[in-house]
Assembly symmetry: C2
Homo-oligomer: 520 residues x 2
């Protein structure tokens, strides 16, 4: 049984993760890292082909040359999202080679990775450090994974690699376009997905870096989102992803009248609060409500003749349209969600490819996230202290990764537009099941039954007092919803077994996730 | 007196440089570095302004906040070339603050830095590690600098910082455009100079990074050639460089009939050798002969209907023209030499900003230099073993930096087009005064009195045998020239005092430069 300690948020958390000591969360900005960044081994040109051709016959050969062996850490990336074909292939090869006890360190996992459960069962994979969505979340939540899962934000993943918390032995970077030297990008080729920023840390810090592509071009592959000077080998395959699942092709706004209403309320709120000023910035993700928010906001911007300095993506055709209409000077994009986003990133120098180092890494000399005026995010639960949960469902099962969510909380105004209940289960709870974001960083909760402003943000309360919007308290929204839903939601039932640790942006442990007791 | 050891090139070199042990040169590709890259301290966002505004009142304040004190290493860059106003200002401030014994670590020095001699005399600067051109070279050559100079190539400078050989305490990066967060580029603003790649290592590895600009724009400054996430402070000044000296505005080809003839011969040679093939690549610098070579080559390419995959800059309007005519797919540019180069880099995504890490660092997983088909370089002397000198003059005085010269030697065909004598002093000598480039990497010497191919390159000898070009031996050229000049050049006279070490691309010491005995 893991030893537990109460952290600054009052949560009992592990002090050790898979045999390594872990630091309990100390509060926002309280933890001071000591020491220096991870230092990769010094390479030399004499050990690489002078003609720059690093192509090896196949992925198995590359993994063998990389010295794949028991206990190694293998990283992959979610640029292909649910269309990824590489991660499963890596562990098939590992199984063929009889390798055991690997740590898989993806930037995110998707339902397409369900076949890895067999490798977890057989011992090829010891545990996964990364988001545990869908089937992998179920697997972990039922206590079947041998090691403890570790959930990190995109920025936290960069921080962990940069700070040497996670040492990657072999990084496999699937790239829609690459040259034989290893320069790679995601904007060209049949599997084009946009950027490759999630693999940046891996390319910089892993001992061995393998680029896998289905579209090899002569040197130089420009732009080089991944730099060939950091790459050891290049593998060419027929198909590295299923294009139809890489990007959705279209991103649709929500059709739910409730969600549209919440999105509209959110746009009205930021306008009323005076945040829609010339030169402002915002981030809205790919969810239906976020997209609808962006569309309502765009109408307000046009009406007021206001333009943004930058918009943070996940980009979609809606953001691209704003860029092309001159409603924003720039899109700073970590991840393109549709083909229009890919096209725009390829063609428009004002659609800027970013990465978690630039956008989110908390152990840098600042990052972009804290400069964003308005951020709109989702959550599975919010509690009366504005703490929010984004990884577990109301039944306690681990179902989502953190993504950039924790990192985005550092914006100047963080808003959670949420339906007040889902499947008749209230979203506002006394205390969140899993603490992912401290309430002090969450400024506003917008529901169809009222808008609650965090009491810490007296400025926002004052600014919107006479707005005509239904500003209320979070307690009031909670009680309204509980009346509708017939009371508080049932608490999920857990065993004492900790199945995953949730890291804060600074690498400390903000909470843990426990094994779920199956419904009787 | 420094202890000396004979290195693999037969040169007696120092085993210690300014109190640190130094490794003698072991041969091309022979030295295997051990250990890991330098590891900068871990920063955290909590210590930087959340609004991203890192502007401090002035450079003095920035240097004080950076903790400027005796014995520190201060780096600057030569993006403004002979128009730089920042390096002198830094050491003026250091003098005002009473700070002593600084190491100045520029990416290159220029005649505009002559005022630093006063600070070398007064003890503010202990010594300079970087090119010692013109007045600074004279100063060092006369034995007046307290510490030993260290000459490195552009790639060697990156390698030294990356490998932790040189720890930079404070990097001051003068940038034509920057935002308050520290993102910076060289393509916009009144002092636009092109790229800022020479400052990359400094931004990544220095303890404190200060960006100085005369053109502050709102966040984000795009493109960010220097990333704000690595920057501590931003200083805004009225003027950071003298625009007329930053780029020349025009770059002129040589008018000397001899040099034009040598350039034409060089172009004919590469054509005869079969190197001008579709998809080939070349690098030609900013010297008059190199420019003329590029123009002759362009005519051959047009005639043969051949296009290049990439051209390495130093870019000039001639290379830009080739890019715009479709004669090359890309310019990979480390340094723009004229305003057309700056414009092209700003406007054309196929004019790619590079840096010494990508192009030249020998301690990476390959670099661009070894993939270039043809490189045309200068030299002050070449000897019978094809060894070349690029730092000292025939009188033994240190007069030039290495620049990218050593790094470029790794190309597939390295050619030195040289006049066979200068001021009646033969350029081909029995043994070079200072060894900068091993003869095994120098393939061809083209002079107006014949073309000498390195006997190691039987392939080139075979390919050009029936070309009608005047292919001969280096010995034959030497004897022809000695007949004209009245014998071998006088040997420069040196004391035993070593005033500078010349590093090879891997950080080992390939030669030393001694104090010159003044002419009687």
């Amino acid at each position: 049984m893991a030893e537990l300690q109460r952290n600054a948020a009052g949560r009992l958390v592990v002090t050790e993760i898979n045999g390594e000591p872990a630091v309990p969360y100390m509060g926002v900005g309280a933890y001071k890292p000591r020491g220096r960044k991870a230092a990769p081994p010094i390479a030399r040109c004499a050990d690489y082909p002078a003609d720059g051709n690093k192509v090896v016959p196949d992925l198995k050969e590359a993994l063998v040359r990389a010295g794949l062996r028991d206990g190694m850490t293998i990283s992959t990336h979610h640029h292909f999202r649910d269309g990824d074909l590489i991660a499963n292939r890596i562990f098939e090869i590992a199984a063929e080679l009889g390798v055991k006890d690997l740590r898989w360190f993806p930037s995110a996992a998707f339902p397409c990775h369900a076949p890895l459960i067999a490798h977890l069962d057989s011992g090829v994979i010891h545990h996964i450090e990364g988001s545990l969505n869908g089937p992998l979340g179920d697997y972990a939540s039922s206590g079947k994974m041998r090691g403890m899962g570790v959930l990190r934000s995109h920025g936290g993943r960069y921080q962990a690699v940069q700070d040497g918390e996670v040492h990657i032995d072999i990084a496999v970077i699937a790239a829609p376009t690459a040259d034989p030297f290893g320069n790679a990008n995601g904007v060209e080729g049949p599997s084009a997905c946009g950027g490759l920023g999630f693999a940046l840390a891996d390319s910089q810090y892993a001992d061995t870096v393998i680029v896998v592509t289905d579209h090899l071009v002569p040197f130089p592959c420009v732009p080089w989102q991944i730099q060939g000077n950091l790459v050891d080998m290049v593998v060419v395959m027929d198909r590295i992803g299923e294009p139809s699942k890489i990007v959705s092709g279209t991103t649709n706004i929500t059709r739910s009248p409730d969600r549209l209403y919440i999105a509209e309320l959110t746009a009205k709120f930021v306008d009323a609060a005076g945040l829609v000023r010339d030169g402002f910035s915002f981030q809205a993700g790919s969810g239906g409500t976020s997209l609808a928010f962006a569309i309502y906001l765009r109408e307000i911007m046009k009406r007021k003749n206001v333009h943004a300095r930058f918009v943070r993506g996940g980009s979609t055709r809606y953001l691209v349209q704003m860029l092309e209409e001159g409603l924003t000077d720039y899109i700073l994009d970590g991840q393109t969600f549709d083909l229009e986003g890919v096209r725009s990133m390829r063609e428009n120098p004002r659609h800027v490819h970013t990465n978690p180092f630039v956008s989110y890494n908390y152990h840098g000399k600042g990052n972009v996230a804290s400069m964003v005026d308005i951020v709109v995010l989702g959550a599975t639960e919010v509690d009366l202290a504005f703490n929010a949960n984004v990884v577990t469902h109301s039944d306690g099962r681990l179902m989502h990764g953190i993504g950039g969510w924790q990192n985005c909380l550092f914006s100047r105004c963080t808003i959670l537009p949420l339906p007040s209940f889902r499947d008749r289960i209230p979203v506002i709870v006394d205390e969140v099941t899993t603490l992912c974001g401290p309430g002090e960083l969450i400024d506003v909760v917008v529901t169809e039954r009222g808008i609650a402003i965090n009491p810490r943000r007296q400025d926002l309360i004052d600014a919107t007092r006479d707005s005509g919007l239904s500003i209320t308290t979070i307690e009031e929204i909670q009680s309204r919803v509980e009346r509708i839903c017939g009371g508080k939601p049932a608490k999920p039932r857990f065993t004492d077994n900790v199945i995953a640790a949730v890291k804060w942006v600074d690498g400390t442990v903000i909470d843990v996730v426990r094994q779920v007791v199956p419904a009787p």
